[in-house]
């Protein structure tokens, strides 16, 4: 599939890219949705996914341009290529949505997630946790005699792997931000 950027009104691009070349295999796509930062805009986006039965694997949102009232919503979603195209077109219909970027088809996006993990343990387990944290370049941002809080940044897979290793070492709590993504170059 070729890149689809639904810019408001750019019928040429959207029409061209709407040519079907669909398979029934589900794919995971990362979408960046640039929206007007107005009350309720996140509810519109989430409501669209809930109302039409689309998946949200991860969602992050924050203002990116205070002067211009712009926010960026990064959504990771799963569906067949036809569903993914529908999701992008439906997002494009929302009035305060300026742009929808499919970072997966636009290619080579950098994706990062941040997580905080609390690991409580004693003796060898505590040492092992610290050693592994060092390998994963996780930082200790809080420590007591019984526990550490690690901060780790990376791809979701890296965080999954780190969390899996921490589990037997006393992982008691985890908070993840969801994905932020930008195209390279």
């Amino acid at each position: 599939m070729s890149a689809l950027k639904i810019k408001k009104g750019s019928s040429k691009h959207s029409a061209y890219n709407l040519r079907p070349n669909f398979s029934d295999v589900s794919e995971t796509h990362t979408l960046a949705v640039i929206v007007e930062n107005e009350p309720g805009v996140l509810a519109r986006v989430i409501g669209l996914f809930a109302g039409r039965g689309y998946n949200i694997d991860s969602l992050t949102v924050a203002e990116i341009d205070h002067e211009g009232h712009r926010s960026r919503i990064t959504i990771v979603t799963t569906g067949t290529p036809q569903i993914i195209e529908q999701i992008k077109a439906q997002l494009g219909r929302i009035v305060p949505v300026y742009d929808v970027h499919d970072l997966t088809v636009e290619g080579r996006a950098v994706e990062r997630e941040l997580a905080l993990l609390k690991v409580a343990g004693e003796g060898d387990k505590r040492v092992e946790a610290l050693r592994l944290a060092d390998i994963f370049r996780a930082n200790v941002v809080d420590s007591t005699l019984e526990s550490f809080v690690f901060e780790i940044t990376g791809t979701s897979e890296k965080i999954d792997a780190f969390a899996d290793l921490m589990r037997p070492l006393g992982l008691s709590d985890i908070a993840r931000t969801g994905i932020a993504a930008l195209p390279r170059g």
Partner: protein, 584 residues
């Protein structure tokens, strides 16, 4: 020139600026300041409905019959929640309406105040866009933006929720001309490469068909004109969805009639057998496609739609063109003419011969015999006796709606108002009120079933109060006819709650409201009774007692493709398989 005014005055001023001449509404605590302003002016006429659902449907009827956006004004809480059905109806059928709702004062929002509801939350999924105005300074700009959003691109309903303190406070009014340009600017021109591809396909197609929808009507009168020109010049047959009736005249020689679940045999067979389908402003609704995997299996499909999400949503498209119908058709004609107006004449002649064979089936034939009026006969007579009028037809939802689409002929756009997508029983009567407001001198008829009509019968008060001579043509079979039909076909003839008990005497009901009532049950009296209805200067309830167990045919059973139509009563048993039975 700067002009300070209250928010309430701003609302009325903005409506005037937008050229609004009528508002349908119902007052309440949270909109009193706006009603006070409505009281003190004469440019905008306010029509007091009897229920907020009626106000929204009336605004829809007005919008569809005039091509201008309709406006409704309701209060907070129940006023807004009563508007939800109308908003959803307008969203499904892409009708431009603006609903203004009152809200509790900003400092009380979230406190569960009297008549407070989260109106923007409730209406978010059933509007194209909505706004909660928190500051009077933003109010006039938002109202202008609301009109822009409702009427641009694919039209739809919008809602502006205005807290009472925002209505009382003063700020500077921004006229329409000085409102900042909206970023919402859907493109109307189609891609020329795709348009050329469509023309190439049209030139060589052996069995082409135009499949048109409500998008042609929404695009405006120019779109219908261009469509007619293209159809006449190319000689390609044309069918239309329920929503698109009138864009191409029913009297036109290339007309196949409506398609879909209760569409005409020749239209559905042409869709099934075509090799080029040109969808203009329709959306492959499930009432049209029937079984998706067997839908028009041998055709190349072109799809012209202003909404990119309509394309490839249901049916895979070979030639997608995103743009406004009128703009795209203009370019299609230009390119087609410049390339020498070619079509495959020889193949088209054969295609028409085939179509004539399908037409010879006469799928709409019925026998009127005995002392009971057949509903089809009632509509055929209504057609015969009103076709010389520039008439506007509304409908409710059910069998009568399908019969009206089959037996009434529409030769112009904006003459046919029916709830297509949402299928809202109770739509037609208030819609007819809106239509009559838009066309005070025209003959406006609401073809209804008795069950649908009762859902918004309170609007008789509105019709009588404002002397709106709307004709309520009720095909009374004392049944929820379409439900009954499905129970017969799908549920072993167990007619669970599908009959109308304790019906009112419609003649007395009309008289109780100060209107005229006519009852007719003898086929011999029908013409005179219809003429009496037409000639009466005022609202009429026409209670037409019809055959109680008539089924609506032709019919594509659920889960079947177009070439598996049921043409009549003959063997309707076991025609819908278990997979079809779960469909609606």
């Amino acid at each position: 020139m700067t002009r300070q005014m209250t928010g309430a005055k701003m609302v009325v001023q903005a409506l005037k600026d937008q050229g609004v001449d009528v508002v349908f509404g119902y007052p309440g605590g949270a909109v009193l300041p706006i009603y006070d302003e409505v009281f003190q002016q004469n440019d905008i006429r306010h029509i007091l409905v009897r229920h907020e659902q009626g106000a929204v449907h009336a605004a829809e009827g007005y919008a569809r019959a005039t091509g201008k956006p309709g406006v409704a004004l309701v209060t907070s809480g129940p006023g807004a929640t009563n508007a939800v059905t109308g908003l959803t109806d307008a969203l499904m059928d892409s009708i431009p309406i603006i609903v203004l709702s009152g809200q509790v004062p900003t400092f009380m929002i979230g406190s569960d105040a009297f008549q407070e509801a989260d109106t923007v939350g409730i209406t978010r999924p059933c509007t194209k866009h909505n706004w909660l105005v928190r500051d009077t300074k933003a109010l006039s700009g938002i109202v202008h933006e609301a009109f822009h959003v409702a009427t641009s691109g694919r039209p739809g309903p919008v809602l502006v929720d205005i807290p009472k303190d925002v209505q009382f406070a003063s700020a500077e009014y921004t006229p329409k001309s000085r409102t900042k340009i909206s970023h919402y600017q859907p493109q109307v021109k189609g891609d020329m490469e795709s348009i050329t591809e469509l023309v190439e396909a049209l030139e060589t197609a052996e069995r082409p068909v135009f499949y048109t929808g409500g998008g042609v009507i929404n695009s405006g009168p120019a779109a219908s004109q261009l469509l007619r020109e293209l159809v006449e010049a190319s000689g390609v047959p044309i069918t239309s969805t329920l929503m698109g009736l009138g864009a191409y005249p029913a009297s036109g020689k290339h007309w196949l009639g409506m398609l879909g679940m209760h569409g005409l045999y020749e239209a559905n067979m042409a869709m099934h057998g075509c090799d080029l389908m040109i969808n203009i402003g329709a959306r492959f609704d499930d009432r049209i496609t029937g079984r998706i995997d067997a839908f028009s299996p041998h055709s190349k499909k072109a799809h012209i739609d202003i909404d990119p999400s309509s394309i490839n949503k249901v049916i895979k498209t070979d030639i997608p063109i995103v743009g406004d119908v009128a703009h795209v058709l203009e370019d299609v004609l230009k390119v087609w003419k410049s390339r020498g107006r070619k079509v495959n004449r020889e193949a088209l002649r054969k295609w028409w011969t085939q179509i004539e064979e399908w037409k010879a089936v006469e799928c709409l034939s019925f026998k009127q015999e005995g002392k009971t009026i057949k509903p089809q006969h009632a509509l055929a007579r209504l057609e015969a006796l009103t076709k010389e009028h520039d008439r506007y037809i509304c409908t409710e939802v059910g069998q009568h709606q399908m019969w009206a689409a089959q037996y009434l002929n529409f030769n112009d756009p904006n003459r046919w108002m029916t709830s297509g997508g949402l299928g809202t029983m109770g739509y037609g009567f208030p819609a007819s009120i809106g239509v009559q407001m838009g066309h005070p001198q025209a003959l406006v008829i609401n073809v209804a079933g008795e069950a649908s009509w009762l859902m918004n019968m309170q609007e008789m008060g509105t019709a009588v109060q404002f002397r709106l001579p709307v004709k309520q043509f009720i095909l009374n079979n004392e049944r929820l006819g379409m439900v009954r039909q499905w129970q017969e076909l799908l549920h072993g003839e167990r007619y669970s709650h599908s009959w109308s008990e304790a019906l009112p005497d419609f003649v007395k009901l009309a008289e109780a409201f100060g209107a005229k009532g006519i009852q007719c049950q003898d086929p011999a009296d029908l013409d005179d009774a219809i003429m009496e209805m037409i000639n009466h200067d005022g609202p009429v309830i026409f209670d037409c007692l019809v055959e109680k167990h008539e089924n609506c045919f032709p019919m594509i059973p659920s889960g079947e493709p177009h070439n598996k139509m049921l043409l009549g009563e003959a063997s309707t048993k076991d025609t819908i398989g278990s997979s079809g039975a779960v469909l609606v």
